[in-house]
């Protein structure tokens, strides 16, 4: 298993100063042994060595917690972890962050399979159902919730019901993060899009949307609205799915656990047509990536920015930017937007009561700090926080909180969910449509044939 090809040494008879070579080897060998001994003897080295050689538990009595929060969310989560640590008599916490998406879920899965999972892990709701079906999660029964003084009714019913698998619960909802609309106050004011108290006038219908974009473009000289189109299949998917779900009669993309592609072809093509026409008309950019699309709005080259609510922290950090956030305008028939929820899950392992208590104690602490998390833009799924005065006064978060009620989760399938192969495949095609590099029909056909391979594959779960 070497990374480079090995080769043989010259085959000559032993020669040269044997003592010289010996003493150097002895020195290094002794140094290595000494070094290993020092490491093993130092700090936690001994227990790590024991764990490595004999499979013993590395740090008994601690809570291990894995998440996939980078950037602003990551910093916020670390602050919340510190609050937990500061609590009186709390067990030690070992937190680790891994790269968002498939790499994270692969790590969690392999760790659970290898009997060394974290006590608590974060999971997207749409991925937790798959993990549960794979037998990798501990069931969250009422008793488990009671350990931390929680009940099922403490959580947003939409999220609670969505996380269930065959009537059983495996995930504790933490937040819901829908796709929302950010707007640049200054640009919108100049474009006459604000109402008397300085908030965005409601936009309805495709015509309303387009005229708003045109008005905005007059002011910006560049674009009306911006959303990522390059190297960001997740965002492309979210944008499309939000629009598609607003249409009456739009069926879920996948059916029967992913075994069938059940999207409505006409509605899909029509929605993609609209998406492409907006970029072709120059109302929205054709070539911009995740960072670029937000910079356009931040710098006033676009009135609107479309993304999940989590970018609120970034927007707030821009000097001189005044912005607002609202749920996605209803361009078609019904309010809807794509979204997902972050949940806490308990990976399957042999757990005694103390371990369960420690794990749930940590979860409870995080839920109690939901308001801090909400400051990062997420809509709390923990009802005590969602209904609190404090949250209601949080602006602009509370202006889009209702989006959590009409959020549309990705259809359940073993290859679906946030950051999944499904999103990568279809998102890539939608990106091409946005960039004008493929027609809706071609893109749909390409996505369809790629997805059919997965649909026709028996689920490994």
């Amino acid at each position: 298993m070497t990374g480079a090809p090995a080769a043989s040494p010259p085959l000559r008879s032993p020669a040269g100063s044997r003592t010289g070579r010996l003493s150097r080897r002895a020195l290094v060998g002794g140094g290595l042994a000494l070094g290993t001994g020092l490491l093993a003897g130092g700090l936690s080295g001994c227990s790590t060595l024991a764990a490595g050689m004999a499979g013993a538990e590395v740090a008994p009595g601690t809570v291990t917690y894995w998440n996939l929060f980078g950037g602003g969310d990551g910093a916020r989560m670390q602050a919340m972890e510190d609050v937990y640590r500061a609590g009186p008599g709390t067990p030690a916490l070992q937190a680790a962050t891994f790269t968002w998406g498939n790499p994270y879920y692969t790590k969690v899965s392999l760790a659970t399979l290898g009997d060394a999972p974290p006590d608590v892990a974060v999971s997207h709701l749409t991925r937790s159902t798959n993990l549960a079906q794979a037998g990798l999660l501990t069931e969250i029964t009422d008793d488990v919730l009671a350990v931390a003084g929680l009940r099922a009714a403490d959580f947003s019913q939409k999220a609670w019901e969505a996380q269930q698998v065959e009537g059983r619960s495996y995930a504790i909802p933490f937040d819901t993060h829908p796709f929302v609309l950010y707007y640049n106050l200054e640009v919108c004011e100049r474009a006459g899009l604000l109402d008397s108290d300085g908030s965005l006038q409601p936009i309805r219908g495709v015509d309303g949307w387009e005229s708003a974009l045109r008005a905005a473009r007059e002011v910006t000289g560049a674009f009306g609205a911006s959303v990522a189109t390059i190297a960001d299949p997740a965002t492309s998917w979210r944008w499309f799915q939000s629009l598609y779900s607003q249409r009456a009669g739009s069926t879920p993309w996948l059916g029967d656990g992913g075994r069938e592609l059940t999207y409505d072809r006409e509605l899909t093509l029509d929605t993609l047509d609209h998406v492409q026409s907006w970029t072709q008309q120059g109302l929205m950019p054709t070539n911009t990536d995740y960072a670029g699309s937000q910079t356009l709005m931040f710098s006033g080259q676009s009135a609107f920015y479309l993304q999940g609510e989590w970018e609120i922290t970034t927007a707030q950090s821009i000097e001189g930017l005044e912005f607002g956030m609202v749920p996605l305008p209803v361009l078609y028939d019904q309010p809807a937007q794509q979204g997902d929820s972050h949940t806490f899950v308990l990976p399957a392992m042999e757990r005694n009561d103390e371990q369960l208590q420690r794990a749930m104690g940590f979860v409870r602490s995080m839920l109690d700090q939901s308001i801090t998390w909400a400051e990062g833009g997420h809509v709390p799924a923990y009802l005590p926080t969602l209904r609190s005065e404090e949250y209601r006064e949080l602006e602009p978060q509370s202006s889009y909180a209702e989006a959590a009620d009409t959020v549309v989760y990705d259809a359940p399938a073993w290859y679906s969910g946030s950051g999944s192969t499904f999103e990568n495949i279809i998102g890539a095609q939608i990106g091409l449509v946005q960039q004008g590099l493929a027609s809706p029909a071609t893109a749909l056909e390409s996505a369809r044939s790629q997805l059919l391979t997965y649909a026709n594959t028996p689920s490994p779960l």
Partner: protein, 316 residues
């Protein structure tokens, strides 16, 4: 043109005193000595190969016990008709094509020149060879940083040379594999450099002196003496490089994760994603078998070429 050989390989035995141990006790010792290694060999080389072939015929899942249902050649059919498989195969070949020529030619040039100037070898060895012993993860971090979009060293250099808004190397589908190839050439050239240096030092100086007395220029000498005499090394280097390139995993996993999209995903990356992310061991095994067969083919070619060259040497 070969140098005189040393004494025959089988050392002259001293006058043996006493009869050699009986065959049966020889056999016992032999098996005792071979068994430990043999055990590991069976457990971690032979059995995995067998397991790989077997599971490729089932829809084995990582999260379900047992082999799963027998599906015959369905996994192979899936792989051979899946665009992701062919693109992974193509990217693997693409990587090989991007890296083997520079790794062979540049190493040769550097070695010839280094051999020529004679001094300062420590500097060249340090510069070219040290990267080779570093872990792939370290060099991936170093080069990912260099390739940082807009502000990284690479893009900054391009901007300084007048390129307007240089494209991000690892984020542009057409450039990502080139970027990985450049990193790989930087990383592993030392190996070939050393091989060529060794080969060069085997060429006796009398040959060059004779040629120069005959009026051949340096360039002609290189062309008519150095290159042909190193053809053996070159063949080995090329074949070795190809085999190593087919097994590529580290740099792609670390620098692009197979992206953007799947534009840099290689076969081994596809195998591990299918097995460990999609949980589909059976399908991954089918892909592994296919990759294994390709590598086996090239390895066999190498063995044949080597044997052919040996025979040529013996008869010449």
């Amino acid at each position: 043109m070969t140098a005189p050989t040393l004494a025959s390989p089988r050392a002259a035995t001293s006058t043996s005193a006493g009869p050699p141990p009986r065959r049966s006790s020889q056999a016992r010792s032999a098996w005792l000595f071979v068994a430990p290694f043999g055990l590991f060999y069976l457990l971690f080389l032979v059995w995995p190969v067998a397991y790989m072939f077997i599971t490729s015929l089932f829809d084995t899942s990582l999260v379900r016990p047992g082999f799963g249902d027998f599906v015959g050649l369905a996994n192979y059919r899936e792989m051979l008709t899946k665009p992701e498989f062919w693109s992974a195969l193509w990217h693997t070949v693409q990587f090989t094509l991007y890296t083997v020529p520079p790794l062979v030619v540049l190493a040769f040039v550097f070695a010839v020149l280094a051999n020529q100037v004679g001094r300062g070898e420590w500097l060249f060895r340090l510069a070219f060879f040290v990267p080779f012993i570093l872990p792939s993860a370290a060099i991936a971090l170093i080069w990912s940083f260099i390739y940082t979009p807009s502000t990284g060293l690479w893009n900054s250099l391009q901007a300084a040379l007048g390129v307007e808004s240089p494209s991000p190397v690892l984020g542009t589908p057409d450039l990502a594999m080139i970027g990985i190839a450049i990193t790989t050439v930087w990383w592993t050239i030392g190996f070939n450099f050393i091989l060529y240096l060794a080969g060069l030092q085997d060429i006796p100086r009398e040959v060059y002196e004779a040629a120069s007395v005959d009026g051949a220029s340096r360039w002609q000498q290189i062309r008519s003496i150095t290159i042909p005499m190193l053809s053996r090394t070159t063949t080995l280097v090329v074949l070795l490089q190809i085999i190593a390139s087919l097994k590529i995993f580290d740099q792609v996993y670390l620098m692009t994760g197979g992206g953007p999209g799947i534009s840099t995903q290689v076969l081994l990356g596809l195998v591990t994603t299918t097995a460990f992310t999609d949980y589909r061991v059976g399908a991954a095994s089918a892909a592994s078998v296919l990759l294994f067969l390709v590598i086996l083919l090239v390895t066999l070619v190498r063995q044949v070429v080597e044997r052919f060259q040996q025979r040529k040497d013996v008869t010449s």
